[in-house]
Point group: C2
Chain length 243, copies 2
Protein backbone atom coordinates (compact mmCIF):
# COMPACT_ATOMS: atom_id res chain seq x y z
CA UNK A 1 0.00 0.00 0.00
CA UNK A 2 1.12 3.50 -0.84
CA UNK A 3 2.51 5.02 2.35
CA UNK A 4 1.06 8.42 1.40
CA UNK A 5 -2.47 7.15 0.77
CA UNK A 6 -5.16 9.12 2.59
CA UNK A 7 -6.84 7.40 5.56
CA UNK A 8 -10.08 7.11 3.52
CA UNK A 9 -8.18 5.31 0.78
CA UNK A 10 -6.62 2.98 3.34
CA UNK A 11 -10.03 2.30 4.82
CA UNK A 12 -11.90 1.66 1.56
CA UNK A 13 -9.05 -0.64 0.47
CA UNK A 14 -10.31 -3.05 3.12
CA UNK A 15 -13.44 -3.47 1.01
CA UNK A 16 -12.34 -3.06 -2.58
CA UNK A 17 -8.99 -3.43 -4.33
CA UNK A 18 -8.78 0.10 -5.72
CA UNK A 19 -7.64 0.70 -9.29
CA UNK A 20 -5.43 3.62 -10.38
CA UNK A 21 -8.52 5.48 -11.59
CA UNK A 22 -10.38 4.90 -8.34
CA UNK A 23 -7.36 6.07 -6.35
CA UNK A 24 -7.21 9.25 -8.44
CA UNK A 25 -10.94 9.93 -7.96
CA UNK A 26 -10.59 9.42 -4.20
CA UNK A 27 -7.61 11.74 -3.95
CA UNK A 28 -9.52 14.38 -5.92
CA UNK A 29 -12.27 14.26 -3.28
CA UNK A 30 -9.61 15.50 -0.83
CA UNK A 31 -8.88 18.71 -2.75
CA UNK A 32 -10.83 21.28 -0.71
CA UNK A 33 -9.05 20.78 2.59
CA UNK A 34 -9.77 22.96 5.58
CA UNK A 35 -8.60 23.16 9.18
CA UNK A 36 -11.06 23.44 12.05
CA UNK A 37 -10.31 24.35 15.66
CA UNK A 38 -11.42 22.60 18.81
CA UNK A 39 -14.89 23.33 20.08
CA UNK A 40 -16.32 24.97 16.96
CA UNK A 41 -19.07 22.83 15.41
CA UNK A 42 -18.52 21.71 11.81
CA UNK A 43 -22.17 20.83 11.56
CA UNK A 44 -24.95 22.04 13.83
CA UNK A 45 -27.84 19.82 14.78
CA UNK A 46 -30.91 20.99 12.86
CA UNK A 47 -28.77 22.81 10.26
CA UNK A 48 -29.76 22.29 6.64
CA UNK A 49 -27.99 22.73 3.29
CA UNK A 50 -24.66 21.79 4.81
CA UNK A 51 -21.55 20.14 3.46
CA UNK A 52 -20.12 16.71 4.16
CA UNK A 53 -16.44 16.21 4.95
CA UNK A 54 -13.84 13.49 4.80
CA UNK A 55 -11.77 13.58 7.98
CA UNK A 56 -8.08 13.59 7.03
CA UNK A 57 -6.45 14.23 10.43
CA UNK A 58 -7.70 14.50 14.01
CA UNK A 59 -10.70 13.28 15.98
CA UNK A 60 -14.26 14.59 16.15
CA UNK A 61 -17.33 13.80 18.22
CA UNK A 62 -20.89 13.38 16.89
CA UNK A 63 -23.62 14.12 19.40
CA UNK A 64 -27.29 14.79 19.83
CA UNK A 65 -28.74 17.38 22.15
CA UNK A 66 -31.87 16.13 23.89
CA UNK A 67 -35.03 18.12 24.53
CA UNK A 68 -33.89 18.38 28.19
CA UNK A 69 -30.57 19.94 27.07
CA UNK A 70 -28.41 16.91 27.89
CA UNK A 71 -25.86 15.72 25.37
CA UNK A 72 -25.67 12.13 24.12
CA UNK A 73 -22.55 11.19 22.19
CA UNK A 74 -23.46 9.03 19.20
CA UNK A 75 -19.91 8.20 18.11
CA UNK A 76 -16.40 9.49 17.51
CA UNK A 77 -14.92 9.84 14.05
CA UNK A 78 -11.30 9.18 13.21
CA UNK A 79 -9.26 9.86 10.05
CA UNK A 80 -10.80 8.21 7.00
CA UNK A 81 -14.36 8.62 8.28
CA UNK A 82 -17.05 10.68 6.60
CA UNK A 83 -18.42 13.58 8.63
CA UNK A 84 -22.00 14.64 8.06
CA UNK A 85 -22.53 12.42 5.03
CA UNK A 86 -25.89 11.45 6.50
CA UNK A 87 -26.64 15.14 7.05
CA UNK A 88 -25.91 16.10 3.47
CA UNK A 89 -28.07 13.29 2.08
CA UNK A 90 -30.90 13.91 4.50
CA UNK A 91 -32.17 17.50 4.38
CA UNK A 92 -31.50 18.30 7.99
CA UNK A 93 -28.65 17.25 10.20
CA UNK A 94 -29.88 14.93 12.95
CA UNK A 95 -26.73 15.53 14.97
CA UNK A 96 -23.90 17.98 15.66
CA UNK A 97 -20.23 17.42 14.87
CA UNK A 98 -17.43 19.03 16.87
CA UNK A 99 -13.62 18.68 16.65
CA UNK A 100 -11.93 17.22 19.75
CA UNK A 101 -8.49 18.35 18.55
CA UNK A 102 -7.55 20.62 15.67
CA UNK A 103 -8.56 18.70 12.57
CA UNK A 104 -8.13 18.68 8.82
CA UNK A 105 -11.12 17.77 6.70
CA UNK A 106 -11.92 17.87 3.00
CA UNK A 107 -15.23 19.36 1.88
CA UNK A 108 -17.45 17.08 -0.23
CA UNK A 109 -20.67 18.13 -1.94
CA UNK A 110 -23.39 15.78 -3.14
CA UNK A 111 -22.40 16.80 -6.68
CA UNK A 112 -18.79 15.67 -6.02
CA UNK A 113 -20.10 12.28 -4.92
CA UNK A 114 -22.37 11.97 -7.96
CA UNK A 115 -19.46 12.76 -10.25
CA UNK A 116 -17.16 10.30 -8.48
CA UNK A 117 -19.79 7.54 -8.63
CA UNK A 118 -20.33 8.21 -12.34
CA UNK A 119 -16.61 7.72 -12.98
CA UNK A 120 -16.35 4.57 -10.92
CA UNK A 121 -19.43 2.73 -9.61
CA UNK A 122 -17.20 0.43 -7.56
CA UNK A 123 -16.42 3.47 -5.46
CA UNK A 124 -20.16 3.93 -4.80
CA UNK A 125 -20.28 0.37 -3.49
CA UNK A 126 -17.21 1.04 -1.33
CA UNK A 127 -18.82 4.16 0.17
CA UNK A 128 -22.00 2.14 0.74
CA UNK A 129 -19.83 -0.40 2.56
CA UNK A 130 -18.37 2.34 4.76
CA UNK A 131 -21.83 3.68 5.62
CA UNK A 132 -23.11 0.15 6.30
CA UNK A 133 -20.16 -0.43 8.61
CA UNK A 134 -20.99 2.79 10.47
CA UNK A 135 -24.56 1.55 10.83
CA UNK A 136 -23.33 -1.83 12.12
CA UNK A 137 -21.38 0.07 14.81
CA UNK A 138 -24.44 2.03 15.90
CA UNK A 139 -26.47 -1.22 16.02
CA UNK A 140 -23.72 -2.78 18.13
CA UNK A 141 -23.84 0.22 20.51
CA UNK A 142 -27.65 0.03 20.62
CA UNK A 143 -27.63 -3.64 21.52
CA UNK A 144 -24.74 -3.21 23.94
CA UNK A 145 -26.17 -0.24 25.81
CA UNK A 146 -28.71 -2.21 27.78
CA UNK A 147 -26.90 -5.54 27.82
CA UNK A 148 -23.27 -4.91 28.80
CA UNK A 149 -22.20 -3.90 32.29
CA UNK A 150 -19.92 -0.86 32.70
CA UNK A 151 -16.66 -2.86 32.60
CA UNK A 152 -17.60 -4.78 29.45
CA UNK A 153 -18.96 -1.62 27.81
CA UNK A 154 -15.70 0.26 28.39
CA UNK A 155 -13.61 -2.73 27.25
CA UNK A 156 -15.72 -3.13 24.10
CA UNK A 157 -15.45 0.58 23.33
CA UNK A 158 -11.65 0.69 23.68
CA UNK A 159 -11.25 -2.48 21.59
CA UNK A 160 -13.55 -1.22 18.82
CA UNK A 161 -11.61 2.05 18.58
CA UNK A 162 -8.35 0.07 18.41
CA UNK A 163 -9.58 -2.05 15.50
CA UNK A 164 -10.91 1.02 13.66
CA UNK A 165 -7.62 2.89 14.18
CA UNK A 166 -5.50 -0.06 13.06
CA UNK A 167 -7.29 0.02 9.69
CA UNK A 168 -5.86 3.49 9.05
CA UNK A 169 -2.45 2.73 10.52
CA UNK A 170 -3.01 4.56 13.81
CA UNK A 171 -3.30 1.66 16.22
CA UNK A 172 -2.40 -1.95 16.91
CA UNK A 173 -2.97 -4.68 19.48
CA UNK A 174 -0.37 -2.83 21.57
CA UNK A 175 -2.53 0.29 21.82
CA UNK A 176 -3.06 3.76 20.36
CA UNK A 177 -2.87 7.49 21.00
CA UNK A 178 -6.29 8.75 22.16
CA UNK A 179 -7.28 12.39 22.81
CA UNK A 180 -10.60 11.53 24.49
CA UNK A 181 -11.27 12.76 28.02
CA UNK A 182 -13.15 10.91 30.73
CA UNK A 183 -16.08 13.24 30.03
CA UNK A 184 -16.20 12.00 26.42
CA UNK A 185 -16.14 8.41 27.61
CA UNK A 186 -18.88 9.14 30.14
CA UNK A 187 -21.22 10.76 27.58
CA UNK A 188 -20.59 8.00 25.04
CA UNK A 189 -21.07 5.08 27.42
CA UNK A 190 -23.90 6.47 29.52
CA UNK A 191 -21.80 6.53 32.70
CA UNK A 192 -20.85 9.32 35.11
CA UNK A 193 -17.28 10.69 34.95
CA UNK A 194 -16.63 9.25 38.42
CA UNK A 195 -17.85 5.84 37.28
CA UNK A 196 -15.60 6.03 34.19
CA UNK A 197 -12.65 6.76 36.44
CA UNK A 198 -13.47 3.79 38.66
CA UNK A 199 -13.93 1.41 35.73
CA UNK A 200 -10.62 2.48 34.13
CA UNK A 201 -8.79 1.95 37.42
CA UNK A 202 -10.36 -1.49 37.79
CA UNK A 203 -9.35 -2.55 34.26
CA UNK A 204 -5.82 -1.23 34.83
CA UNK A 205 -5.44 -3.01 38.16
CA UNK A 206 -6.70 -6.22 36.56
CA UNK A 207 -3.78 -5.91 34.12
CA UNK A 208 -6.03 -5.60 31.06
CA UNK A 209 -5.74 -2.05 29.70
CA UNK A 210 -4.21 1.28 30.74
CA UNK A 211 -5.61 4.62 29.56
CA UNK A 212 -3.23 7.33 30.76
CA UNK A 213 -1.55 10.44 29.37
CA UNK A 214 -3.50 10.36 26.10
CA UNK A 215 -2.57 6.77 25.33
CA UNK A 216 -4.46 3.48 25.48
CA UNK A 217 -2.17 0.52 26.16
CA UNK A 218 -3.53 -2.99 25.84
CA UNK A 219 -1.79 -4.84 28.68
CA UNK A 220 -3.64 -8.09 27.97
CA UNK A 221 -5.45 -7.88 24.61
CA UNK A 222 -6.98 -11.37 24.68
CA UNK A 223 -8.08 -10.95 28.28
CA UNK A 224 -9.85 -7.71 27.37
CA UNK A 225 -11.50 -9.37 24.34
CA UNK A 226 -12.80 -12.13 26.64
CA UNK A 227 -14.15 -9.63 29.19
CA UNK A 228 -15.95 -7.61 26.49
CA UNK A 229 -17.09 -10.67 24.49
CA UNK A 230 -15.72 -8.66 21.56
CA UNK A 231 -16.17 -10.10 18.06
CA UNK A 232 -14.79 -7.64 15.48
CA UNK A 233 -16.65 -9.31 12.56
CA UNK A 234 -19.05 -6.33 12.28
CA UNK A 235 -16.07 -4.04 11.56
CA UNK A 236 -15.36 -6.24 8.54
CA UNK A 237 -11.76 -5.47 7.77
CA UNK A 238 -10.41 -8.97 7.23
CA UNK A 239 -10.04 -8.90 3.44
CA UNK A 240 -11.46 -7.05 0.42
CA UNK A 241 -14.83 -8.37 -0.76
CA UNK A 242 -14.44 -6.97 -4.28
CA UNK A 243 -11.23 -7.99 -6.06
CA UNK B 1 -46.43 8.60 -9.71
CA UNK B 2 -47.04 5.29 -11.46
CA UNK B 3 -49.62 3.42 -9.38
CA UNK B 4 -47.82 0.12 -10.08
CA UNK B 5 -44.39 1.37 -8.98
CA UNK B 6 -42.65 -0.95 -6.52
CA UNK B 7 -42.43 0.24 -2.89
CA UNK B 8 -38.65 0.74 -3.30
CA UNK B 9 -39.28 3.00 -6.28
CA UNK B 10 -41.86 4.97 -4.30
CA UNK B 11 -39.40 5.29 -1.42
CA UNK B 12 -36.37 6.37 -3.47
CA UNK B 13 -38.58 8.90 -5.27
CA UNK B 14 -38.62 10.83 -2.00
CA UNK B 15 -34.92 11.48 -2.51
CA UNK B 16 -34.40 11.66 -6.25
CA UNK B 17 -36.72 12.42 -9.17
CA UNK B 18 -36.21 9.15 -11.04
CA UNK B 19 -35.74 9.15 -14.82
CA UNK B 20 -37.18 6.50 -17.16
CA UNK B 21 -33.80 4.75 -17.24
CA UNK B 22 -33.49 4.76 -13.46
CA UNK B 23 -37.02 3.40 -13.11
CA UNK B 24 -36.17 0.60 -15.56
CA UNK B 25 -32.97 -0.28 -13.68
CA UNK B 26 -34.87 -0.34 -10.37
CA UNK B 27 -37.59 -2.60 -11.75
CA UNK B 28 -34.93 -4.94 -13.13
CA UNK B 29 -33.56 -5.32 -9.59
CA UNK B 30 -36.95 -6.85 -8.70
CA UNK B 31 -36.68 -9.70 -11.23
CA UNK B 32 -35.71 -12.60 -9.00
CA UNK B 33 -38.72 -12.57 -6.69
CA UNK B 34 -39.24 -15.22 -4.06
CA UNK B 35 -41.79 -15.93 -1.36
CA UNK B 36 -40.75 -16.73 2.20
CA UNK B 37 -42.91 -18.16 4.99
CA UNK B 38 -43.27 -16.95 8.54
CA UNK B 39 -40.63 -18.01 11.02
CA UNK B 40 -37.97 -19.19 8.56
CA UNK B 41 -34.90 -16.93 8.65
CA UNK B 42 -33.94 -15.25 5.37
CA UNK B 43 -30.55 -14.45 6.81
CA UNK B 44 -28.94 -16.10 9.82
CA UNK B 45 -26.79 -14.14 12.24
CA UNK B 46 -23.16 -15.11 11.60
CA UNK B 47 -23.96 -16.42 8.11
CA UNK B 48 -21.55 -15.39 5.36
CA UNK B 49 -21.75 -15.25 1.55
CA UNK B 50 -25.45 -14.45 1.65
CA UNK B 51 -27.77 -12.49 -0.59
CA UNK B 52 -29.47 -9.16 -0.03
CA UNK B 53 -33.16 -8.67 -0.79
CA UNK B 54 -35.56 -5.88 -1.59
CA UNK B 55 -38.76 -6.39 0.39
CA UNK B 56 -41.72 -6.13 -2.02
CA UNK B 57 -44.58 -7.23 0.25
CA UNK B 58 -44.93 -8.10 3.94
CA UNK B 59 -43.09 -7.30 7.15
CA UNK B 60 -39.87 -8.75 8.58
CA UNK B 61 -37.98 -8.37 11.83
CA UNK B 62 -34.20 -7.89 12.21
CA UNK B 63 -32.75 -9.08 15.47
CA UNK B 64 -29.58 -9.95 17.30
CA UNK B 65 -29.15 -12.92 19.59
CA UNK B 66 -27.06 -12.05 22.64
CA UNK B 67 -24.39 -14.23 24.21
CA UNK B 68 -26.95 -15.03 26.96
CA UNK B 69 -29.43 -16.28 24.34
CA UNK B 70 -31.84 -13.34 24.64
CA UNK B 71 -33.15 -11.67 21.52
CA UNK B 72 -32.93 -7.92 20.87
CA UNK B 73 -34.99 -6.59 17.98
CA UNK B 74 -32.99 -4.03 16.01
CA UNK B 75 -35.78 -2.93 13.69
CA UNK B 76 -38.68 -3.99 11.49
CA UNK B 77 -38.56 -3.76 7.71
CA UNK B 78 -41.52 -2.84 5.56
CA UNK B 79 -42.04 -2.96 1.77
CA UNK B 80 -39.42 -0.91 -0.07
CA UNK B 81 -36.70 -1.63 2.51
CA UNK B 82 -33.49 -3.50 1.79
CA UNK B 83 -32.99 -6.71 3.75
CA UNK B 84 -29.47 -7.78 4.58
CA UNK B 85 -27.78 -5.14 2.42
CA UNK B 86 -25.37 -4.53 5.29
CA UNK B 87 -24.81 -8.29 5.49
CA UNK B 88 -23.94 -8.66 1.84
CA UNK B 89 -21.51 -5.74 1.96
CA UNK B 90 -19.91 -6.85 5.21
CA UNK B 91 -18.57 -10.41 5.07
CA UNK B 92 -20.66 -11.73 7.92
CA UNK B 93 -24.23 -10.92 8.86
CA UNK B 94 -24.34 -9.12 12.21
CA UNK B 95 -28.04 -9.91 12.60
CA UNK B 96 -30.80 -12.35 11.65
CA UNK B 97 -33.82 -11.53 9.49
CA UNK B 98 -37.15 -13.34 9.87
CA UNK B 99 -40.53 -12.83 8.13
CA UNK B 100 -43.40 -11.81 10.43
CA UNK B 101 -45.98 -12.63 7.75
CA UNK B 102 -45.55 -14.39 4.41
CA UNK B 103 -43.41 -12.04 2.36
CA UNK B 104 -42.23 -11.44 -1.18
CA UNK B 105 -38.68 -10.30 -1.69
CA UNK B 106 -36.39 -9.86 -4.68
CA UNK B 107 -32.88 -11.27 -4.53
CA UNK B 108 -30.06 -8.76 -5.14
CA UNK B 109 -26.38 -9.65 -5.48
CA UNK B 110 -23.48 -7.22 -5.06
CA UNK B 111 -22.87 -7.65 -8.80
CA UNK B 112 -26.46 -6.50 -9.53
CA UNK B 113 -25.84 -3.36 -7.48
CA UNK B 114 -22.52 -2.67 -9.20
CA UNK B 115 -24.18 -3.00 -12.60
CA UNK B 116 -27.09 -0.76 -11.59
CA UNK B 117 -24.73 1.88 -10.19
CA UNK B 118 -22.68 1.79 -13.39
CA UNK B 119 -25.79 2.49 -15.44
CA UNK B 120 -27.00 5.29 -13.21
CA UNK B 121 -24.83 6.81 -10.47
CA UNK B 122 -27.80 8.84 -9.21
CA UNK B 123 -29.27 5.52 -8.12
CA UNK B 124 -26.13 4.85 -6.06
CA UNK B 125 -26.69 8.15 -4.27
CA UNK B 126 -30.35 7.26 -3.72
CA UNK B 127 -29.41 3.89 -2.19
CA UNK B 128 -26.83 5.69 -0.05
CA UNK B 129 -29.65 7.99 1.08
CA UNK B 130 -31.82 4.98 2.01
CA UNK B 131 -28.98 3.40 4.02
CA UNK B 132 -28.22 6.75 5.71
CA UNK B 133 -31.88 7.06 6.63
CA UNK B 134 -31.80 3.56 8.15
CA UNK B 135 -28.75 4.62 10.15
CA UNK B 136 -30.53 7.78 11.32
CA UNK B 137 -33.35 5.57 12.60
CA UNK B 138 -30.97 3.36 14.56
CA UNK B 139 -29.28 6.48 16.02
CA UNK B 140 -32.72 7.78 17.01
CA UNK B 141 -33.49 4.45 18.72
CA UNK B 142 -30.11 4.49 20.44
CA UNK B 143 -30.63 7.97 21.81
CA UNK B 144 -34.26 7.27 22.70
CA UNK B 145 -33.63 4.00 24.49
CA UNK B 146 -32.20 5.55 27.62
CA UNK B 147 -33.95 8.91 27.41
CA UNK B 148 -37.63 8.29 26.69
CA UNK B 149 -40.02 6.78 29.21
CA UNK B 150 -42.15 3.80 28.16
CA UNK B 151 -45.15 5.89 27.01
CA UNK B 152 -43.06 8.25 24.87
CA UNK B 153 -41.01 5.33 23.47
CA UNK B 154 -44.16 3.49 22.36
CA UNK B 155 -45.69 6.68 20.92
CA UNK B 156 -42.47 7.49 19.04
CA UNK B 157 -42.27 3.95 17.67
CA UNK B 158 -45.87 3.92 16.39
CA UNK B 159 -45.46 7.38 14.83
CA UNK B 160 -42.18 6.48 13.09
CA UNK B 161 -43.73 3.36 11.59
CA UNK B 162 -46.67 5.45 10.38
CA UNK B 163 -44.41 7.94 8.62
CA UNK B 164 -42.34 5.16 7.04
CA UNK B 165 -45.47 3.34 5.85
CA UNK B 166 -47.04 6.50 4.42
CA UNK B 167 -44.01 6.88 2.12
CA UNK B 168 -44.90 3.59 0.42
CA UNK B 169 -48.65 4.22 0.43
CA UNK B 170 -49.45 1.89 3.34
CA UNK B 171 -50.32 4.37 6.07
CA UNK B 172 -51.52 7.88 6.86
CA UNK B 173 -52.17 10.14 9.84
CA UNK B 174 -55.36 8.08 10.31
CA UNK B 175 -53.40 4.89 10.97
CA UNK B 176 -52.17 1.68 9.33
CA UNK B 177 -52.49 -2.10 9.28
CA UNK B 178 -49.83 -3.62 11.53
CA UNK B 179 -49.07 -7.35 11.97
CA UNK B 180 -46.78 -6.89 15.00
CA UNK B 181 -47.60 -8.66 18.27
CA UNK B 182 -47.09 -7.31 21.77
CA UNK B 183 -44.05 -9.58 21.99
CA UNK B 184 -42.48 -7.83 19.00
CA UNK B 185 -43.16 -4.45 20.59
CA UNK B 186 -41.69 -5.66 23.89
CA UNK B 187 -38.46 -6.95 22.33
CA UNK B 188 -38.06 -3.81 20.22
CA UNK B 189 -38.71 -1.30 22.99
CA UNK B 190 -36.96 -3.09 25.84
CA UNK B 191 -40.21 -3.57 27.81
CA UNK B 192 -41.97 -6.66 29.13
CA UNK B 193 -45.09 -7.87 27.29
CA UNK B 194 -47.19 -6.97 30.35
CA UNK B 195 -45.72 -3.47 30.36
CA UNK B 196 -46.47 -3.10 26.63
CA UNK B 197 -50.06 -4.08 27.30
CA UNK B 198 -50.36 -1.52 30.10
CA UNK B 199 -48.79 1.28 28.02
CA UNK B 200 -51.07 0.58 25.04
CA UNK B 201 -54.15 0.65 27.30
CA UNK B 202 -53.00 3.94 28.82
CA UNK B 203 -52.46 5.57 25.40
CA UNK B 204 -55.86 4.31 24.23
CA UNK B 205 -57.66 5.55 27.35
CA UNK B 206 -55.97 8.93 26.91
CA UNK B 207 -57.60 9.09 23.47
CA UNK B 208 -54.25 9.18 21.62
CA UNK B 209 -53.83 5.88 19.73
CA UNK B 210 -55.54 2.49 19.52
CA UNK B 211 -53.65 -0.67 18.53
CA UNK B 212 -56.21 -3.45 18.19
CA UNK B 213 -57.06 -6.25 15.77
CA UNK B 214 -53.94 -5.74 13.69
CA UNK B 215 -54.59 -2.05 13.15
CA UNK B 216 -53.03 1.11 14.57
CA UNK B 217 -55.52 4.00 14.68
CA UNK B 218 -54.27 7.49 15.50
CA UNK B 219 -57.11 8.93 17.60
CA UNK B 220 -55.24 12.21 18.24
CA UNK B 221 -52.20 12.45 15.95
CA UNK B 222 -50.94 15.82 17.18
CA UNK B 223 -51.44 14.82 20.81
CA UNK B 224 -49.33 11.70 20.24
CA UNK B 225 -46.63 13.75 18.48
CA UNK B 226 -46.50 16.08 21.49
CA UNK B 227 -46.25 13.19 23.96
CA UNK B 228 -43.40 11.55 21.98
CA UNK B 229 -41.65 14.83 21.13
CA UNK B 230 -41.60 13.34 17.62
CA UNK B 231 -39.78 15.30 14.91
CA UNK B 232 -39.87 13.31 11.64
CA UNK B 233 -37.02 15.33 10.06
CA UNK B 234 -34.62 12.35 10.35
CA UNK B 235 -36.96 10.30 8.11
CA UNK B 236 -36.42 12.94 5.45
CA UNK B 237 -39.33 12.43 3.14
CA UNK B 238 -40.48 16.02 2.64
CA UNK B 239 -39.22 16.56 -0.92
CA UNK B 240 -36.60 15.14 -3.33
CA UNK B 241 -33.08 16.52 -2.77
CA UNK B 242 -31.92 15.70 -6.29
CA UNK B 243 -34.12 17.09 -9.07
Amino acid sequence: MNIKASPLTQKLSAFVALSEIELAVLERLHQRRKSFSVGRDLVHQGQSEQTAYILAAGWVVSYKIQADGSRQIVDFQIPGDFLGLRSVLLHTSDHGIEPIVEIEAAEVLVSDLLQAFAETPRLATAVLWAVSRDEAMVVEHLVGLGRRDADARMAHFLLELGVRLSLVGMGSKEGYACPLTQYHLADALGLSAIHVNRVLRKLREAGLVTFQGGHVTFDDYEGLVALADFDPAYLDQSRPLLP
